[in-house]
Amino acid sequence: MIDWKKKEKIVKTILFIFALSSIIFLTGIVIVLFNEGFPIFSKVGLFQFVFGQDWYPTHEPPDFGILPLLLASILVTVGAMVIAVPIGISSAIFISYILPQKIKDIVKPMIEMLAGVPSVIYGLFGMRILGPFLQDLFDLPTGLTALTAAIMLGIMALPTVVSLAEDAISAVPKKFRDASLALGGTRWETISKVILPTATSGMVTAVILGIGRAIGETMTVLMVAGGAAVIPRSILRPLRPMTANIAAEMGEAPVGSDHYHALFGIAIILFVITLFFNIMADLASNRFKKKVSGK
């Protein structure tokens, strides 16, 4: 029979290995990404790569400028947030303050289920229903536009924003609310002057993670954004975000070619952007924790 001390040690080691594995995977991904993507930076130069306006990776001579793709990613993400933030935050307030507990217990899991819908299904919906609808509505040459992508991404980011914002609002200590009500504040005054200011940094976290979800989404934008590698001039025009470009071209780019390295180069840019947003989200959530703990 093994004594409990040994058992404890074994369990501890196993858990340690598992915990370590995610760090190992992350390190591995970063190493591969930079290893495969760096050759393109030394070949065309980082500045030319990021700010070049032409993307013709297989033409002779090739152009590796990702500015149109980068701006497309930014535009659809901003568009998605314009849709997801107001709806998401107000839903969160509504769910945590106005809905009775019983209904809240049904509604919140339902919204979270929205996050579990595979992105290809959102893509199909955008392609076959929303796209043709917008095409007729605005009399466009094609319904696959930045707006279509932004609306779909907005819907997809919604569960993240609602769920995390609701968590943030719920985390505001009950005594804050009680104090406000006891002082004669109305429900709206309590929400707008006490709860929301306290929960702001928590909601910032929610929004930033929503941004991360939108900017990294691939399948949906590949299907609904149209895929034109031009600097976006209007939200009613097709464009090609970075993720869609990687997904469309990686399948047939010969391994080890400049095109292949360039696609990894785009992946590095994307990785750096999402890393930045994740760090921001982390900082905001730390601030929030400090605030609600009253220190």
Partner: protein
């Protein structure tokens, strides 16, 4: 206790040995490459395996470039391509001790398609080139309605794009505002949805919801592609390492047989004879 353990051990040994015998008894053939050749290879492999139950053929897509790369690495027996090898690929193969041998397995025509509501019937190669390079941007310049042209193109590393670039664009760049779609099916979807759209795809992907235009006055059909009249046509290849022997040779002979060519035709391609 001991008895049951022995029994379990015996069972495991038995299972492993029968399984490995099963695997060893099978002859394996791997095929990889162009998504255009994929339906032919897939169908032929199914028919071949039905006749030869001891043979296991695995067919994968991934694109011409990937198929050739796998052949160069020795990772596949047959590489499917929708284009001939590039000089770079030949020298990489030779450097690796691989001698790629082409086998023409079928013909493929690239049809130019427009939305079914579009009245335009006939386009010359020059006009198609002018559309794809952005010189013509409205259908009224081509005798159609006053409608903006939505140019739909394939991802620039696909075999279909390469052939289109070579036969139609003649080395010029596709206009940057062209919609990039990652598959023949996606092109068909966009063109059938957008009224002003023009796209190109393999003859096998034509459907009643799309309108194939005549190119230089020639309708894209099996007969015009096989006879060489239709200007945007290409041969499809299977590449092997050296002259094929054994199973590989037998499989390629099967595709080139009357039965194999019939299968290719059923998949929407143009048979060699």
């Amino acid at each position: 206790m001991l008895k049951s353990r022995l029994f379990t051990g015996l069972l495991v040994v038995l299972l492993v040995s029968t399984f490995s015998m099963l695997v060893m008894a099978e002859k394996n053939l791997t095929i990889q490459g162009s998504s255009t050749v994929l339906p032919i290879a897939q169908r032929a492999a199914e028919a071949y395996m039905e006749k030869n139950p001891d043979v296991n053929i695995s067919v994968r897509g991934g694109g011409s470039g990937n198929g050739v790369a796998a052949l160069i690495d020795g990772a596949t027996d047959i590489a499917n391509t929708s284009r001939f090898l590039k000089n770079k690929e030949v020298s990489a193969a030779v450097a690796n001790g691989i001698y790629p041998v082409p086998h023409r397995v079928a013909m493929d025509g690239i049809a130019v398609v427009i939305n079914s509501s579009n009245p335009v019937e006939d386009l010359s190669l020059e006009k198609i080139k002018a559309i794809y390079t952005g010189q013509i941007t409205n259908w009224k310049e081509l005798g159609g309605k006053d409608q903006e042209i939505v140019v739909v193109s394939r991802d620039s590393s696909s075999g279909t794009f390469e052939v289109f670039e070579e036969l139609v664009l003649d080395g010029d760049k596709v206009v940057a505002s062209a919609l990039l779609q990652a598959s023949n099916g996606a092109v068909a979807g966009v063109v059938s949805e957008a009224r002003g759209a023009i796209g190109y795809l393999g003859l096998g992907y034509l459907s009643p919801s799309l309108k194939a235009v005549k190119v230089n006055g020639v309708t894209p059909t099996n007969a015009t592609v096989a006879s060489g009249q239709f200007p945007i046509a290409r041969p499809l290849f299977m590449f092997t390492n050296g002259w094929p022997k054994g199973l590989t040779a037998d499989f390629i002979n099967f595709i080139l047989s009357v039965e194999g060519q019939k299968l290719a035709e059923e998949q929407g391609y143009v048979p060699l004879f």
